[in-house]
């Protein structure tokens, strides 16, 4: 009963957070609601026994990504943005398609039958140990590849974010006036 209540609570957190995140006018608020949504997801992780992911979600996402977002929002000075139109003109159509899509997927999910729940009890080892075990056996290759991915990302974001020597004139304040 408690788990059900928690599930609904976290789901609500996730979905409300998500909806508010994509609808807020001010990106700072969007970021805040994103944190709420991600917290909800973290809660859901905890409910199904993914403790490690719960921690990772909070540290990585909420601690890392979201902060990055907020940092960038501050950096690029979004005062003007708040006052302009926030949605594309085609939004009613896309909304309709989106709602149709939700209904469609939910119907598919309801009609589908899930695979039988595995009967084997989880092994005695803790969640984190198990995860480490698979990562370094079955998923050794993608694990290594992920390091390349992250290296490329570091390289790329540094390259992009760097202020170019001798080209500051391009980012002059005059250009920002829309």
């Amino acid at each position: 009963m408690l788990s059900a209540a928690l599930f609904y609570f976290f789901s609500l957190l996730t979905l409300m957070g998500a909806i508010l995140c994509v609808t807020r006018r001010n990106p700072v608020l969007s970021g805040a609601w994103l944190i709420v949504s991600l917290l909800g997801v973290a809660g859901l992780f905890l409910l199904v026994g993914a403790e490690f992911l719960f921690v990772a979600q909070i540290i990585l996402y909420i601690g890392g990504i979201t902060l990055l977002f907020l940092f960038v929002i501050m950096l690029v000075n979004l005062e003007g943005i708040v006052r302009v139109r926030q949605f594309r003109r085609s939004w009613p159509l896309v909304m309709a398609v989106g709602i149709g899509l939700v209904v469609e997927i939910v119907i598919l999910l309801l009609r589908g039958r899930l695979p039988a729940e595995a009967t084997t009890e989880a092994s005695a080892a803790g969640n984190t140990e198990q995860l480490a075990d698979v990562l370094f056996s079955s998923y050794f290759v993608p694990f290594e590849l992920a390091s390349v991915l992250l290296l490329a990302a570091i390289l790329g974001s540094i390259w992009m974010g760097q202020r170019r020597p001798g080209r500051q004139a391009h980012s002059g304040a005059g250009e920002r006036v829309e």
Binding site: I105, I107, L108, L109, R111, G112, L114, P115, A118, Q130, D133, V134, F136, S137, S138, Y139, F140, V141, P142, E144, L145, A146, V148, L149, L151, A152, A153, L155, G156, W159, M160, Q162, R164, R167, H170
Partner: protein, 503 residues
């Protein structure tokens, strides 16, 4: 949990990406260590070409091993990677495309004042990701491979960071590309859900067991198909392509148009014709609509473009349409048609882009139209540079599918596959679009040969920004295009060999 082991086959399978990653890091180090900027630039180019030689050697080792292996396939890492004919075919093409990129990039980046070793490192990272797209038979490895290459490409597209168009192209590519990967990942998660495993062989069994009417299978296949069609820019998921192609530095455009697409098609082949083959009733209609729409939109939009790279973006969308038609023909002919088309597509597009790169001349980066961007810039080129123009005509003939060039054979095998499997209507549509494509490709020939140069340009007989690398790239691709058109037997043998090996 199986204990971790690392044996000789694992080593063989992992050798190329290890080399790529090592060289990527080494290139960045070299940049820091080298005494002067100029020597660093040259050193980077040569060093990266050296790296490609090593990679080629490691791939050759794989080829040698595969020919002795049972079933022409060597599984590695407990079934998460495989060396087989498809992976080698794809890696070969990606390798070729990367070499062309390295050959052509130098001059272009010099002109843009952005010649930095990061570019080369990223090219290696992208290749590394594509290696896994070609050879992964595990959902996670496949996904991470897909993302690694995509991420490297986002950065490469935006590499000329002082150029707004390049920024916007990169951003748009990233936003839509990331959404597409989200869909692919969602599909993968459902596949994992129904099979309880991330290995494609298990997934395949689960999909067969559930049949093609199962809601979960439908959900997975549809999201994966949509995500992958985004990657290969099939209509209506193509909107990023013209902008990304146009905004990216031209060598990168060539690389997206060729390597990324080749790898994308390898994933499509591996998934749709391999593990999800039993779900054909689900994905076939999606692909059919996308194929015909791509042909139509690609051909019609190409007619109205005045910027060269946008033109080639739409042209490559139309080509993707032809390749997708090959998927609809459920036969060995179809598979062969896809591979032959992909091979020839790679060849002729690399050539065409090498030519476009050679058109580039120094101009202010803030200009909307740097010299060499517009179709009109080709005007009168046949008089100034007859040889380059002639080679470009060979490539254009091939792109429009006329004999005696390789492009004809590419279309020929798609026709064969369609007719042989009874898709007469699709064959007729495809045939009709050959004439349309001829029309739009020959707009370029018209500019080069039929129209006189503008009065202002007659005096400024500027040399093409052609380096040895660019000339080498253009000559090789155009020559091969003609050679394969006249004597395609070796390529066909290769295609037969590969289709024998697709799981």
């Amino acid at each position: 949990m199986a204990p971790f082991s690392y044996n000789a086959t694992d080593h063989l399978a992992l050798l190329p990406p290890i080399l790529m990653a090592l060289f990527a890091c080494a290139i960045m180090l070299l940049d820091v260590l080298s005494p002067s900027a100029e020597s660093s630039r040259r050193g980077t180019v040569f060093f990266s070409l050296l790296g490609m030689t090593f990679v080629a050697y490691s791939l050759a080792l794989q080829i040698r091993a595969v020919t002795h292996a049972p079933g022409f396939a060597i599984p590695a890492f407990q079934g998460s990677l495989i060396i087989d004919a498809l992976s080698l075919f794809t890696n070969g093409l990606v390798w070729f495309s990367t070499v062309i990129l390295l050959l052509c990039a130098y001059r272009y980046l010099e002109i843009a004042h952005e010649h930095r070793s990061e570019f080369y490192a990223l090219a290696f990272f992208a290749e590394c990701g594509m290696y896994f797209m070609a050879g992964a038979v595990d959902l996670i490895a496949l996904f991470v491979g897909l993302e690694t290459s995509a991420l490297a490409f986002y950065i490469l597209v935006g590499f000329t960071r002082a150029n707004r168009q390049s920024n916007e192209a990169a951003l748009k590519y990233l936003l839509l590309g990331a959404m597409a990967s989200g869909f692919v990942a969602y599909g993968f998660s459902v596949l994992y859900g129904i099979s309880g495993s991330t290995q494609l062989s298990e997934v395949s069994k689960a999909v067969v067991r559930r049949g093609s009417a199962d809601p979960f299978v439908i959900l997975a296949v549809v999201t994966i198909a949509v995500g992958l069609l985004f990657k290969i820019a099939g209509v209506p998921f193509h909107t990023w392509a013209p902008d990304a192609y146009d905004g990216a530095p031209t060598p990168v455009t060539a690389h997206i148009a060729v390597a990324s697409k080749v790898a994308g098609f390898a994933v499509l082949i591996r998934l749709l014709l391999g593990s999800l083959a039993s779900a054909r009733p689900i994905w076939a209609p999606i692909l059919a609509v996308t194929a015909v729409a791509s042909l139509t939109v690609g051909s019609i939009a190409a007619l109205t473009q005045d910027r060269l790279k946008r033109f080639f973006a739409y042209s490559s969308i139309a080509h993707a349409g032809y390749i997708l038609l090959g998927f609809l023909a459920d036969s060995d002919d179809g598979r062969r048609g896809i591979l032959i088309y992909v091979f020839i597509y790679a060849l002729m597009n690399l050539g065409a882009f090498a030519f476009l790169i050679s058109l580039r001349r120094p101009g202010s980066a803030a200009d909307r139209h740097t010299p060499g961007d517009l179709i009109g810039d080709l005007r009168g080129l046949s008089k100034r540079h007859p040889l380059q123009a002639a080679l470009f005509v060979v490539l254009l003939l091939s792109l429009s599918g006329l004999p005696p060039t390789a492009g004809f054979l590419a279309k020929y095998f798609i026709f064969i596959a369609l007719i042989n499997t009874g898709h007469i209507t699709l064959a007729v549509i495809a045939a009709a679009y050959v004439a349309v494509s001829l029309y739009f490709y020959f707009r370029l020939v018209r500019e080069m040969y039929l129209l006189e140069p503008r009065p202002a340009e007659q005096h400024t007989v500027e040399p093409l920004a052609s380096s040895l690398g660019i000339r080498l790239a253009l000559g090789t691709t155009a020559g091969l295009t003609l050679l394969i058109g006249l004597y395609p037997e070796p390529l066909l043998r290769l295609a037969f060999l590969v289709t024998g090996g697709v799981p």
